[in-house]
């Protein structure tokens, strides 16, 4: 990493790139999850495809894992540098006079999302690995919907998912449009980009909340 990401500008470029990649992934993840409220069969066949396709498992998944790990490690690196840049803090600091809460608290919204990812991996990825590689069950293309629905029996888990998605929303409300500025894009299209990113940042997390809550009530 050293030389290539030495400067502040390069680090922010990498941060933006990894963030945008996660935004793309999120849209794909959302689309597949949404099928679970429409048609269990469609959800099963997509999940089966994603779980067994060699391209997805062998190339896209490692890239995704690298992207996530890179993004939050770089987030912490930037945060530490930023804190060090102000040796002594102000007695009075009126941040809301000139900037949004979201933009000033990316590390906190990001940290909540990170904690959520821990839970999410524990819920879905760990059982998946156990199923495939430890217990080595034969592949059953119809198991996915049942596994998904079973997770949302618990009101606590459903609640944690909902809260996490709210923080994801806060993270994206600033992060998505910010990544364009970090990559040097600020022109006549920027107002349009900003509107689109705000729409995305609200609709996608709300959609995830809908899916979780839908399955919770469906289970009752």
């Amino acid at each position: 990493m050293g030389g290539l990401l030495k400067s502040s500008v390069a680090k922010k470029f990498a941060m933006a790139l990894s963030g945008l990649f996660l935004v793309l992934f999120l849209a794909q993840h959302f689309t597949i999850n949404l099928t679970s409220v429409i048609s269990p069969d469609t959800f099963n066949s997509w999940s089966h495809f994603m779980g067994t396709n060699i391209l997805v498992q062998g190339i896209l998944q490692p890239i995704l894992i690298f992207g996530v790990v890179f993004h939050f490690i770089m987030g912490f690196v930037l945060e530490i540098q930023n804190r060090n840049a102000r040796a002594k803090s102000y007695v009075s600091y009126n941040g809301s006079a000139n900037s949004s809460w979201m933009s000033r608290n990316m590390i906190y919204s990001g940290a909540v999302v990170l904690a959520f990812l821990g839970l999410h991996f524990y819920d879905f990825w760990v059982p998946e690995l156990v199923h495939k590689y430890i217990e080595s069950h034969p592949e059953d293309a119809t198991r996915y919907y049942g596994e998904l629905v079973a997770k949302f029996v618990s009101p606590v888990r459903t609640g944690l998912y909902v809260v996490s998605f709210v923080f994801l929303m806060l993270h994206l409300l600033h992060g998505f449009s910010s990544s364009f500025q970090s990559m040097g894009v600020n022109n006549k299209y920027s107002e349009g980009i900003r509107k689109f990113t705000v729409g995305y940042a609200i609709i996608i997390p709300l959609g995830f909340i809908f899916i979780a809550v839908f399955h919770y009530f469906n289970n009752l």
Binding site: V9, N94, G95, S99, S100, R104, M106
Partner: protein, 247 residues
């Protein structure tokens, strides 16, 4: 009007420093903020106490030296002005005003409210200039036609007075707005284009070396800048930097 002032007092660069309360009376709404501090200092001197040290020079918003953090905002609550252009009518009788130096690791306090902003000078010296032959065959700048839009943007970037409010406002004490204004004013003109790559790499490197933070795109700098330097300059610098790095 009658005011309570909470002011940062620090004997010298190494002293610890603390906030000290002062009560002041008879302040007129038409006084500037610095005139109010003059009144306080006169009282302090008459009492045999050390006056509050603060930076100032032009007192008309062009030199950029009067940098104070007032109630948590650089240059106080009003927009597009420097501290010397801030008037006491902005405040109400009985108000408490917190006055601190601009805080950044790269801007160490020299005394009381005065900070050392030579980090900005060093960023400028790193490549905030163009190399022109001045040995007798100089070409008049006006003979080179420049697109109106670029000329305007360059001029706007050049209005940065180096006050440091962008750094003071930023939660990361980032100097991106200042540096990008200095990069942009040349990058937009044919005279500056020749050395554009070397310039942006050198100035960003110096900016990082000084210990300023990274940009989180909060936009605080743009809103607190007395000259309204736009965030477009930061995007332009990012572009210039990335372009120069891949060459």
């Amino acid at each position: 009007m009658k005011l309570t002032l909470k002011i940062w007092r620090q004997e010298n660069a190494t002293a610890k420093g603390k906030m000290v309360d002062y009560n002041i009376d008879g302040i007129d709404g038409d006084m500037s903020f610095l005139e109010m501090l003059d009144v306080l200092n006169e009282e302090l001197v008459n009492k045999g106490e050390q006056p509050v040290e603060f930076d100032h020079d032009c007192r008309e918003g062009i030199c950029g030296s009067c940098s104070l953090q007032i109630n948590g905002e650089p240059h106080g609550p009003d927009k597009f002005i420097t501290t010397c252009q801030l008037h006491m009518r902005t405040f109400k009788d009985g108000d408490t005003i917190v006055i601190e130096p601009f805080r950044a690791k790269a801007f160490p306090v020299i005394k009381d409210l005065i900070v050392d902003r030579t980090a900005f000078d060093r960023i400028q010296q790193a490549y905030g200039y163009i190399s022109v032959n001045t040995s007798g065959n100089t070409i008049d700048a006006n003979t080179i036609p420049i697109e109106k839009e670029n000329a305007d943007d360059s001029f706007n970037a050049a209005t940065c007075i180096g006050c440091g409010a962008c750094v003071a406002a930023c939660k990361n004490a980032s100097a991106m707005l200042f540096t990008s204004a200095k990069v942009s004013q040349f990058a937009l003109l044919p005279q500056g284009e020749v050395e554009a790559d070397r310039r942006v790499l050198a100035m960003v490197e110096q900016m990082d070396k000084e210990g300023f933070g990274n940009c989180s795109n909060t936009g605080a700098c743009e809103l607190e800048c007395p000259k309204g330097i736009s965030l477009e300059n930061i995007a332009r610098m990012n572009r210039e930097y990335l372009k120069a790095s891949v060459k």
